[in-house]
């Protein structure tokens, strides 16, 4: 059974940031990627994510997830690229009979789509490896007023998505070597092959979250106002990071 994305205890700048700051970072990356239209610019955002992972010392844990996401985005390109009719023809996949026409517009469109997906989802494993699940749930519930149950659902999904995508590729390869027909180009057929394989993973992830929810509640979480043993206030670095994120987002918006 594959491991879920887990917190890696380290003492880095990123680890010490308030969970809110890190959640804001993922949202900033999300908005910037949707404002930007140039593949190169989105690629730079992706590189910045990898830089953050490196600074947090979680690169080793995050890279497999990013590779999984990358393969997933390649599949995404394949589904898109042949359907764009506009633009100048760049090449044909099978030249002599002019099959599989790829245009410059199509290529750019697909690249933007794939990079966007890659850049926006690669923040999730970084968030989850540098922040304790408990802390994310506490800030979501306490500070952001998200109902307890929804905080758990959100965190479960966040933990599940990168693992899901990372494992999908491995599962498909394993199945292929055992002779399962996974090479099918029909996306619906592919989905039907993937679903039964993904279910155990999903159940594991939900079970884990449920156990944690139970454990938190029987110790009185959610009964009323709470105090903090280690202050989780926003520190100077948090404000600095948030200011930086705001400036970058604004700058991208204006440009």
């Amino acid at each position: 059974m594959p491991a879920l994305v887990e917190y890696i205890p380290k003492d880095t700048l990123v680890h010490r940031l308030n969970p809110i700051t890190k959640i804001l970072w993922t949202l900033a990356v999300l908005s910037v990627c949707f404002i930007l239209q140039e593949p190169l610019a989105i690629f730079i955002v992706l590189l910045s994510n990898i830089l953050v992972a490196w600074l947090s010392g979680v690169l080793k844990q995050v890279i497999p997830a990013i590779i999984g996401l990358f393969i997933f985005s390649l599949v995404l390109i394949l589904f898109q690229i042949f359907f764009v009719k506009e633009g100048n023809t760049l090449f044909y996949v099978i030249p002599f009979i002019n099959l599989g026409r790829v245009t410059d517009v199509g290529l750019k469109f697909s690249a933007v789509l794939a990079l966007r997906m890659l850049a926006t989802t690669s923040t999730i494993p970084i968030l989850m490896t540098t922040t304790q699940m408990k802390d994310i749930i506490v800030v979501l519930t306490e500070k952001c007023r998200v109902p307890f149950k929804y905080s758990f659902m959100l965190v479960t999904a966040l933990r599940f998505i990168p693992t899901f995508i990372e494992e999908m590729d491995q599962i498909l390869q394993a199945q292929r070597s055992r002779g399962y027909e996974t090479d099918t180009s029909n996306p619906f057929k592919k989905l039907f092959i993937i679903i039964p394989l993904a279910i155990p993973l999903l159940i594991l992830s939900v079970k884990k979250a449920e156990k944690m929810a139970i454990s938190m509640e029987v110790r009185g979480f959610g009964a009323g106002p709470r105090s903090y043993y280690n202050r989780v206030d926003m520190k100077k670095t948090d404000y600095a990071v948030i200011a930086l994120l705001g400036t970058i987002t604004l700058a991208v918006l204006i440009m």
Binding site: P9, M212, S215, M216, V218, R219, G220, F221, Y229, N230
Partner: protein
């Protein structure tokens, strides 16, 4: 003494299951009791514990009949978080109950939920770690603890909250005899000196016989026998078929009884057995 837990006509059927996991349970726990629950696997022991802390019916869907009152609160009406003010829980799987990455934070979590000031948390953490004998683990990572260490952290986290009732589901399953003894001595201390009501699910009957004031035997969702340790252990006819082996000293007395050599009460501890044997030998001498 007044009852602190009152269970009446409790039947619970897990969703998707046909047979009830609990079947018409009635139970009356008095304040200051030290109750042991034993029974074969699948008897419903864990399910009963989950009904006491409100996890059932709040987390597990299913058909719930009857009522469970804990410290004057109906568990159906009150959330687990509210019940947590009265009842502390230690689960069967210590792995599943860790929420923090460091032992100290693990203990602090529940105290934070009580909205305590920092110095009070500090005091209670130190105290709970001392009571459970794991002060040296304070700054350890929770994920790198052994099973037995995790169980003790779980117990420390529960007792730091100063609950009126403590329900523990096989808290010593991963501990060696020495560790188990420490845990039971801790529970005994909490029970005798702090008046905490204790309900413990345990497979090792010798510890129940030694420490509990009352014993309950469960099978197939029902309470089969209930009473003082002596009363329950006397019913070997019921215990044997359930695979519950009595403590060796009790078995010895049982064998003596079967041969008509002894007629008194069942011994639970070694020193009591010593008395029994002395008496039997004495009678034997007189007989000759």
């Amino acid at each position: 003494m007044s009852s602190i837990i009152k269970i009446s006509g409790l039947t619970f059927v897990y969703q998707g299951s046909k047979v009830p996991a609990l079947d018409q349970i009635n139970m009356d726990v008095k304040q200051g009791d030290f109750i042991g629950i034993i029974g074969p696997t699948g008897a419903g022991k864990t399910t009963l514990a989950l009904c006491m802390n409100g996890v059932i019916p709040h987390f597990y869907p299913g058909d719930f009949y009857g009522s469970v009152w804990v410290d004057g609160k109906d568990t159906v009406e009150n959330d687990c978080a509210v019940l947590a003010g009265s009842i502390g829980s230690v689960f069967q799987d210590p792995e599943a109950q860790m929420v923090a990455m460091v032992v100290e934070d693990e203990l602090a979590f529940g105290l934070e939920n009580l909205n305590l000031p920092r110095h009070e948390m500090e005091r209670r953490i130190t105290e709970a770690l001392e009571i459970t004998g794991i002060s040296h683990l304070r700054y350890h990572s929770t994920s790198r603890l052994s099973g037995g260490q995790k169980q003790r952290v779980a117990i420390a986290s529960a007792i730091a909250l100063h609950p009126k009732i403590l329900v523990l589901d096989e808290p010593t399953s991963e501990l060696d005899p020495q560790g188990t003894e420490i845990v039971y001595d801790t529970l005994k201390n909490l029970n005798e000196n702090h008046g905490i009501t204790i309900i413990v699910i345990e497979q090792k009957i010798q510890y129940l016989a030694q420490y509990c004031s009352r014993l309950m035997v469960m099978d197939k969702g029902k309470i089969v026998i209930e009473g003082s340790c002596r009363e329950v252990l006397a019913r070997q006819d019921i215990l044997k078929p359930l695979g519950i082996n009595c403590p060796p000293v009790t078995q010895l007395a049982h064998m003596l009884k079967e041969r008509g050599l002894y007629h008194g009460e069942y011994p639970l501890k070694v020193d009591e057995a010593y008395m029994v044997i002395s008496k039997v030998l004495q009678d034997w001498g007189n007989f000759k």
